[in-house]
């Protein structure tokens, strides 16, 4: 009969979204976001524990491992409102690390880590390297096999970058080259020396990013994820990250459009509220139109993820389109937000810059719009 629905939005998702909206608005008002900019961590321990208490870290973890057995599609419904309020946390990284263990981990790794991650343990993703290439299989970090009295060990070398929330992480999911092929490795906090982490200065000040020096770190061989197809797992991780970034960007665009609208409705110049001027009004409609399309792509991509269609072409197309469109929409909305606040927009006190910085971070992690369009060209045109 009619085409099957390409966007499914369950009652669970609707409920989750509503709760997450209220939660984010209450827990991350702009004053709290501003306060957190000065803090050591992106999020207070108390707030992180609250998030864990709500069960949001286990949404995509099966019930057998202490989660709720839903999928990344439901996580989208949480991340979007968090992005709207610029709430920064290791939720996405922890969720994705758990997914990687679920996809590619051994039974022991699953039983050891998934319940912990569902319960509030923090995971950090160490997938990016200083060369800045978005290809997660472009790996210069490596490991060599050594034997010790503790059994077969891996001796790591190289460095990782953009490891967010590393200082509060209990577990690191690390990619490296081993025997000439990509490998994924779990590294516990205790395996890191004192000097392994150093804070990086990044464009999005709501985030806490770290460089991770691997030299001298030794971990048991048993910490490798035993997946046969690590490249495939890295691709799924990449697409999962794109999906959650798309959600964060849609939320951010919603937040920054509202911020700008508020100003356009209250600021007067030449006897008119400035929102009455079409030079400002019309680009706001462009921003809205870009966001509406981004949200449609997002919830379609979330639907496709739910159906487990990720690795067939359809899922990849949906996710890449969502990330490309969300990046374009958030970039435009946040760029115009600075401009439309006039001289105030040029100040640190104006919140527009927080969104613009967030938009740049989100677009530049896991591929900008141009990169995804290039990947889509291969999928759609060849």
């Amino acid at each position: 009969m009619t085409e099957p629905a390409e966007i499914l939005f369950s009652d669970e998702q609707a409920q989750l979204r509503e709760i997450a909206e209220t939660f984010s608005a209450n827990k991350a008002p702009m004053a709290a976001v501003r306060r957190q900019l000065e803090a050591d961590a992106a999020i207070t321990t108390e707030l992180w524990q609250e998030i864990a208490g709500l069960g949001w870290l286990g949404i995509a973890i099966p019930e057998d491992f202490g989660g709720s057995g839903l999928g990344l599609g439901e996580v989208v419904a949480i991340v979007e409102p968090m992005g709207r309020n610029l709430l920064s946390s290791p939720l996405a990284a922890t969720t994705l690390a758990a997914q990687a263990i679920l996809w590619s981990g051994s039974d022991e790794q699953k039983s050891q880590w998934l319940p912990q991650l569902a319960g509030g343990a923090v995971a950090a993703l160490a997938l990016t390297e200083a060369h800045g290439d978005w290809d997660l299989c472009h790996l210069t970090c490596s490991a060599s096999r050594t034997a010790s009295r503790h059994g077969d060990m891996l001796s790591l070398s190289g460095g990782k970058t953009f490891v967010t929330d590393a200082a509060m992480a209990d577990l690191f999911l690390l990619s490296l080259a081993l025997d000439g092929a990509p490998a994924l490795l779990l590294v516990e906090k205790s395996a890191l020396g004192e000097a392994a982490l150093h804070r990086e200065v990044v464009i999005d000040e709501t985030r806490r990013s770290y460089g991770l020096n691997l030299n001298g770190i030794e971990v048991p061989v048993a910490n490798l994820l035993p997946a046969a197809d690590v490249s495939g797992c890295l691709k799924r991780l990449h697409l999962g990250a794109c999906l959650l970034y798309a959600a964060e960007m849609c939320g951010g665009a919603t937040g920054v459009i509202n911020l700008t609208l508020e100003y356009l409705k209250t600021r007067r110049q030449f006897d008119h509220f400035i929102g009455a001027y079409q030079a400002l009004k019309h680009p706001m409609v462009d921003a809205l139109v870009g966001l509406e399309q981004a949200r449609s792509h997002l919830y379609h991509a979330a639907t496709v993820f739910e159906m487990g269609n990720l690795t067939d072409g359809r899922g990849e197309v949906a996710v890449r389109m969502a990330k490309a469109q969300a990046a374009a929409a958030f970039a435009f909305a946040s760029d115009r937000a600075i401009q439309f606040h006039g001289a105030f927009g040029f100040t640190y006190d104006c919140d527009a810059q927080l969104y613009r910085r967030r938009a740049l971070w989100c677009e530049q992690q896991h591929g900008d719009a141009l990169h995804h369009r290039k990947q889509l060209a291969a999928l759609l045109l060849d």
């Binding site: 409609v285 139109v289 949200r295 369009r373 290039k374 889509l376 060209a377």
Partner: protein, 402 residues
């Protein structure tokens, strides 16, 4: 009204078979792509016959009441028939203003006599309808309409002119917004709305030549034309409210249209095909990285607009700015279509310079003509700039433009 999936399935199979069997072949001339582009008697006769055939076969107006000539069935049946028309790319229903705007308006607020008189003949295309809103000096500012309707007993006397009347040369009736009182507090209060006959003394539609060189609409002159006051729809002096209601049908914010396809859609996929055949540097244009990027951008936007239609149906995903998708649809879709047409033209390389009727024109010149005609959608029914005011004010809550 309960309907079973089996019933719908059976109907879909029938509809698919009927359209496959009865879809017209190549008429031997380039068909227009929407009712706004019907420029020759040949095109018009062809399209009117086709609409009548579709109606008589039972695939148009299925959800309109049976007592007025409709099918009296659930909307789901019409949706299936319409989807089948789109799928099989059959020619569009040419009486668009009757089927999609005037018809639902009459059913919504017309008198019993008006419903009896007009509805069936709209469906069968026996009566063609046009719209008299815009005037030479009042395009987007609809509320400022100046065509005079002066009451004289139980008649109104019409003087003035309307412009950009699509199908004006062929129309039997016009939905007409006119000024019945020029001494009101606001310009909106003096308007009345009529279902006016066209083929009476004093009404003269004069064809206007479009930028394409074709004739697609008229300026319609009214010189002491007399119509009975039974032509009023809504109360005298309440024409503005009726006009606003009409626009909700025109912009598909309200449902109740008769159904059927109303334009020949363009797809980004067609432009991808064009890129396979166009040449750049001795290679197919589709291998050029810059062209690939633009093609993908069009595909992303096309998909986003399609998915918008689905998401608009899910209230839980429209909490922030409810109605935004529907309110912006005309703007987004018409602008996309215009850019896509233009890109399709530029893709052709030096051949982009050819035009309709040139023996070597690619696809008969349809992209060139399509680009020019696409301005009818970015201008007609409220320009894109006016649409942005509407969305900015009604959806985003920004103050009215100065």
């Amino acid at each position: 009204m309960s309907i079973s999936a089996g019933e719908l399935n059976e109907f879909e199979v029938e509809a698919a078979a009927w359209f496959a069997e009865n879809k017209p072949g190549d008429p031997g001339f380039l068909l227009p792509q929407s009712f706004m582009e019907v420029g020759t008697d040949q095109q018009f006769e062809f399209l009117r016959d086709w609409q009548r055939k579709v109606y008589e076969a039972g695939y148009l107006g299925l959800a309109w009441p049976a007592e007025y000539g409709g099918g009296g069935k659930h909307q789901a049946f019409q949706d299936i028939a319409t989807a089948e028309m789109a799928r099989q790319k059959v020619p569009f229903m040419t009486n668009t203003i009757g089927l999609s705007w005037a018809g639902p308006l009459i059913l919504n607020m017309g008198t019993e006599a008006q419903k009896q008189a007009y509805i069936k003949r709209i469906l069968s295309a026996e009566d063609i309808w046009c719209q008299g809103f815009s005037e030479p000096d009042n395009g987007s500012d609809l509320g400022n309409a100046q065509l005079r309707a002066v009451r004289d007993g139980d008649e109104f006397v019409l003087n003035g002119s309307k412009i950009w009347t699509s199908l004006g040369s062929y129309a039997d009736y016009m939905i007409l917004l006119a000024r019945s009182n020029s001494e009101t507090n606001t310009k909106y209060e003096g308007l009345s709305y009529f279902l006016s006959p066209m083929k009476i003394p004093g009404i003269d539609p004069v064809p206007i030549r479009k930028l394409t060189g074709e004739y697609g609409f008229t300026q319609t002159f009214f010189d002491n034309a007399r119509i009975p006051d039974s032509c009023l729809i809504g109360e005298e002096g309440k024409g503005w409210q009726v006009a606003m209601k009409t626009l909700t049908f025109e912009r598909a914010v309200s449902g109740g249209q008769a159904g059927g396809v109303h334009s020949m859609p363009v797809f980004a996929g067609e432009v991808v095909e064009l890129a396979r055949h166009a040449q750049r540097d001795g290679r197919p244009a589709i291998e050029d990285p810059l062209i690939r990027d633009q093609l993908v951008a069009f595909l992303i936007e096309e998909r986003g607009l399609e998915l918008n239609n689905q998401r608009a149906q899910i209230p839980g995903l429209n909490t922030e700015w409810p109605g935004a998708i529907a309110m912006a649809r005309k703007l987004t879709n018409s602008e996309w279509r215009q850019r896509l047409n233009l890109f399709a033209v530029t893709l052709q390389g030096a051949n982009a310079s050819r035009y309709v009727d040139d023996a070597l024109a690619i696809d008969g010149g349809r992209w060139q003509r399509g680009y020019f005609n696409s301005f009818s959608s970015t201008i007609g029914g409220g320009t894109s700039q006016i649409q942005k005011n509407i969305v900015g004010e009604r959806v985003l809550g920004l103050p009215k433009s100065a």
